[in-house]
């Protein structure tokens, strides 16, 4: 139960951080192999690229939970709360809709790969599997978005739902976190 709870909280982080480590190791291995062992590794670029896509989508889901996605809140925040709140709720509904739309489109896209398998050039794995992240990523985002609302409602439904800070957790949000 404790493990499950931990996983619920850190699932995306776990995948995303693992992918980041994979990227770093693969890129570094490429340099080391070239200069120390005089060989050109062929698997590194593809592995790192796949890990990157997975890192971005799981990271994007993490950003939902941490309210970190880039959005322009100036207009909504300058409105009184009773007008701003319905607008933000509508905005989040459209976000959820977009996730559903992307899941639908990605399933269509993936079904083509399922019917006509294609292997990746250097690793030789079926391209279907790495690309499942499209469905997985948007599904995770949708779940996290719904979760945000459930928690907001439980906490008394005050303020703007997308901008609440949770209590009793360890948010990673950091004001230095800008590109």
């Amino acid at each position: 139960m404790v493990a499950l709870k931990w996983l619920e909280r850190h699932f995306e982080e776990l995948i995303c951080c693992t992918c980041l480590v994979v990227i770093a190791v693969a890129v570094f291995a490429q340099v080391v192999a070239r200069y120390l062992f005089q060989v050109a590794l062929h698997w590194t670029e593809e592995t790192a690229s796949m890990a990157m896509v997975w890192a971005v989508y799981t990271g994007a889901s993490l950003c939902v939970r941490e309210r970190f996605h880039i959005r322009i809140m100036v207009a909504v925040k300058s409105l009184p709360e009773r007008i701003g709140r319905p607008i933000i709720i509508l905005a989040d509904c459209m976000w959820a809709l977009f996730c559903v739309f992307m899941i639908r489109v990605s399933i269509d896209y993936l079904s083509i790969f399922w019917r006509f398998p294609e292997t990746s050039p250097s690793l030789g794995i079926n391209q279907f599997y790495p690309q499942t992240i499209l469905v997985l990523g948007y599904a995770l985002m949708l779940i996290r978005l719904i979760q945000t609302y459930v928690e907001w409602y439980r906490n008394g439904a005050e303020g703007l739902p997308g901008t609440l800070t949770e209590d009793g957790s360890d948010p990673i949000v950091d004001d230095e976190a800008h590109i």
Binding site: H69, A91, M94, F98, Y109, E176
Partner: protein, 429 residues
Amino acid sequence: MSPLAILAICFVILTIMGIPLFVAVGLTTAVAIYIIDIPYTLMAQTGYGSLTPFPLLTIPLFVLAGRLMEVGGMANRMIGIATTLVGAYRGSMGLVTVFACMLFAALSGSGPATTAAIGSVTVPAMKREGYDIPFAAAITASAGALGSLIPPSNLLIIYGLVSETSIPRLFLAGLLPGLMITILLMITTYIIARRRGYGGNGDPFSWGPFLKAAWDGKWSIGAPILILGGIYGGAFTPTEAAGVAVFYSLFVGLFIYRELTLKKLIDALRFTALLTGILILLTPTLAFGQLTAFYDVPTAVQDGITSITENKYLVLLLIGIFYIFIGTFMESLAQIVLFTAVFLPLATSLGVDPVMFGIFTVITCEIGFLTPPLGANLTVAARISNISIERISVAVLPFIGAYIVGMLILIAFPDIAVLLPNWLYGPAL
């Protein structure tokens, strides 16, 4: 109404509603696909394909390396070197801050990170010397923005990816403008500090302490030498340099300075994870870019602006004003991803070098870091110095002036940016 106008209105309304930008672009793209009636699977296809280019990996790697250097003790060594160099003059701690930010900028690719790394040490030091706190915070915020201009730079990597410009060229081009802005900021600091009579009680410059500080900081100075030397010596690509930087900072933090712990390492990874997540903005934007055959936004903008003026300098000035305005409420990453494709074709058609345009874009983004309501550096500086963003945003105005002067000089003398890359790689084609 033309389809393009419908899409523009659609995008603006969605954005103002507070929908996350990647969703706003995604929904707009979906509408665009609906109008021309092609399969929606295009969005899934770019959803995967647009994130696989190898140079894109540079961003999370540099973010991670920068974070490891920051928490691993490299920032303190940079401040030590800066103190022995410029510590004796009037307003010395302010000058030290600017100088140390410049040095740290050569390790880090991010402006807010540079502000945090250097400012958390120098703002308290300035307080002790009796500086007005908003002034101290403003120096830190403005000098920290150098992190995005002096190579390596995350913003320049993003620009290079969306504009298909060579990243090594862009990095090299950032060097001289970075030094120019450092000097402008130091002059601003000096004038204000002199007028207010802030102390300069450090020892005058002498070689002994400087060499000692430089020797103490040799592993920190080694990082930019390894990163930039490796790229320009042809030893590795920028992406590989970023990978090497991660392991170098890990090595120094763990075994030389011993300030890195497992907890700090995991936190640095989680921090990088968040920033990697917002790169999802690239996927719908590039999907929209695939529709240029039907919606040629650049040409529409080009026709609009060239009907006002065809003067290269005036056009750059107009773009600059627009960028600064957008930057007050939009993240720099989004600004570059969304608008480069719109304005770059216009600029190049008037004979502006794409490399120079990149540097110009990043300078406007740095002004965006310093302007409320959304100014990342202001937020960081406010936290470090414990005062409100409003108070800093007034004190930072002279420094924004310095950046604007820098931008104008760059518009007038674009050679400052393109001189070094053209010298090393030959003129761009």
